[in-house]
Symmetry: C2
Subunit: 340 residues, 2 copies
Amino acid sequence: MKTILLNELDCIMSEILRAYGLSEKNIKTVVNVYLMRTKAGVGHHDIYDFIPRMQMLQSGTVEKNPAINLLHSFGCMENWDGGNGLGEIVCSFGMGRAIELAKQYGIGFCTIRNSNHYLASLPYTLQAAKDGFIGLIIARAYPSMGVPGYKGKIIGQAPNGYAFPTGDGRPVVLDGCMAYVSGHGNLQQMVEQGKSVPEWWGVDSDGQPTTDPAKLLVGTRYPIGEHKGFGYTILFELLTGVFSHGLILDQTEGADGLKNVTSHTAIAIKADALMSMEEYEQRSAELIKRIEARAPGIRIPGHRTHQTMVDYEKRGEMEITDTLYDQLNALADSLNVKRL
Amino acid sequence: MKTILLNELDCIMSEILRAYGLSEKNIKTVVNVYLMRTKAGVGHHDIYDFIPRMQMLQSGTVEKNPAINLLHSFGCMENWDGGNGLGEIVCSFGMGRAIELAKQYGIGFCTIRNSNHYLASLPYTLQAAKDGFIGLIIARAYPSMGVPGYKGKIIGQAPNGYAFPTGDGRPVVLDGCMAYVSGHGNLQQMVEQGKSVPEWWGVDSDGQPTTDPAKLLVGTRYPIGEHKGFGYTILFELLTGVFSHGLILDQTEGADGLKNVTSHTAIAIKADALMSMEEYEQRSAELIKRIEARAPGIRIPGHRTHQTMVDYEKRGEMEITDTLYDQLNALADSLNVKRL
């Protein structure tokens, strides 16, 4: 492992993005998304995904400075075209719009088609929470999830998450998907750690139950609560693909010729719409305090992440693997920008 | 079993409610909720809950004609006090307000405190879907659900559901809660049918895993996807109890002295806010068609219910147990109203 300053991480990401031609505004946006998620300390869907994402810029499969255009609007709802931009740029924009609409209407709903992988939900939802809003964001993805009793991959995992601020200063945050476990990331980590998975999480490539994460990784994962999670996922597909005028379920190409793009829907709810912020803070803190009182030591979603982020910010540095360190430097070298 | 006309069911419920002093408008509302849910053919959370609900009117623990008053509003969001009315009346009102707000703003959000058990989500969400809206409704309840790794009942099961219209004429509907299984109803039926439950659904009263539904019924149920379902449930508690100025988590009495009341939040989204209804119908039908194409024979949530409702409406009659038949007649007799 190598210890590096967060500032160094910021610098090398900025330099690389600048070399690819991103505008200063877009650089700041993308770096912010990677830094926020990286400080959560998860080890996937963060800086460890930066190199593959840069390959998308390198190959030109995504637009470096996308034109994001309004398609439709009605009251507190907007539908934009993300211009095939990086999901990090498109979703930051989308949550920003949702927040602006929520300031005016209490709720803001922004659905965007022609977006790409958003990395994770946390950077967007946490931004909303810091601004005094409940933030929710939903992504859609090509079918990777099955349903018990049926064969094959039927629907996407619907990556999604929320964050809301509380009066105790620690936001509550959920960042995941509708499957028991995501493939890339969590399941990959379980393979490396030699762990087993509960047999109800999914089936292997032959459709048989498995407790081997490696077999589940190439098999089919199941939605949480089986038909229940399946039901929520259908709703999420509606609110993203259908509402955004984007690709639906397993469509791979839109009328505009764009392939394998995705849709995102960001929703913001003004925390102090129906009460003062002081009262919201008191009541939200009361909710968490009462949960904790019923189960001392219980882990409230987001609390550990919050502590990790605070610790990293205090230290101003973090550890990354030698492999990632070398990869970042190799990319920097190839682009003739300052290495770590 | 006794076969009775739906019209007879309507009549006897109306007569009983009239005898309890409900206004004609409230009678129509309550009867509509019970008829809709009963036609879904589930056998619990429907006409089979009518007698216990009438006992609440009899004892005066709920108001027969509640004063429902606006507390706060901002843009597309409203917060009402349900006046300790029947959940069936309060939630019908709440979804009605959410729909009115959604007509104006695209989304309507109506949170109501001092409500009571809403029976089930389907009558409210399906009404929204019939009117061209995506309807969602969330209830909160006293803690009955645990979290793996911790003892006891930590949080409510967050009964909730949604419905959305589609171009194929069959709405997609989910009607349940955040636990793997609800106690009253589903689990009770499993006990009667001698079925076993998956061991990950919860623990018995000693905190031990069980496959016996009778033991789970008196034990603690777990949320779908463990920490994931727990996370969504916390959000639902925020959007109901906290947002409504109602009871929070395990509070049992409000500042107004009302005990054991609950809060409901109804959300409506205008299906044709961002596209014409024709396009919405085409795109929503496309989503369902594509899911069905990937898994022939798959059960889309709501389809079977839709068919059951259509069949009952066509027949104009249905079967109820002799016990229920006798109970309804006994109640009618005691109130001096026309029996079945």
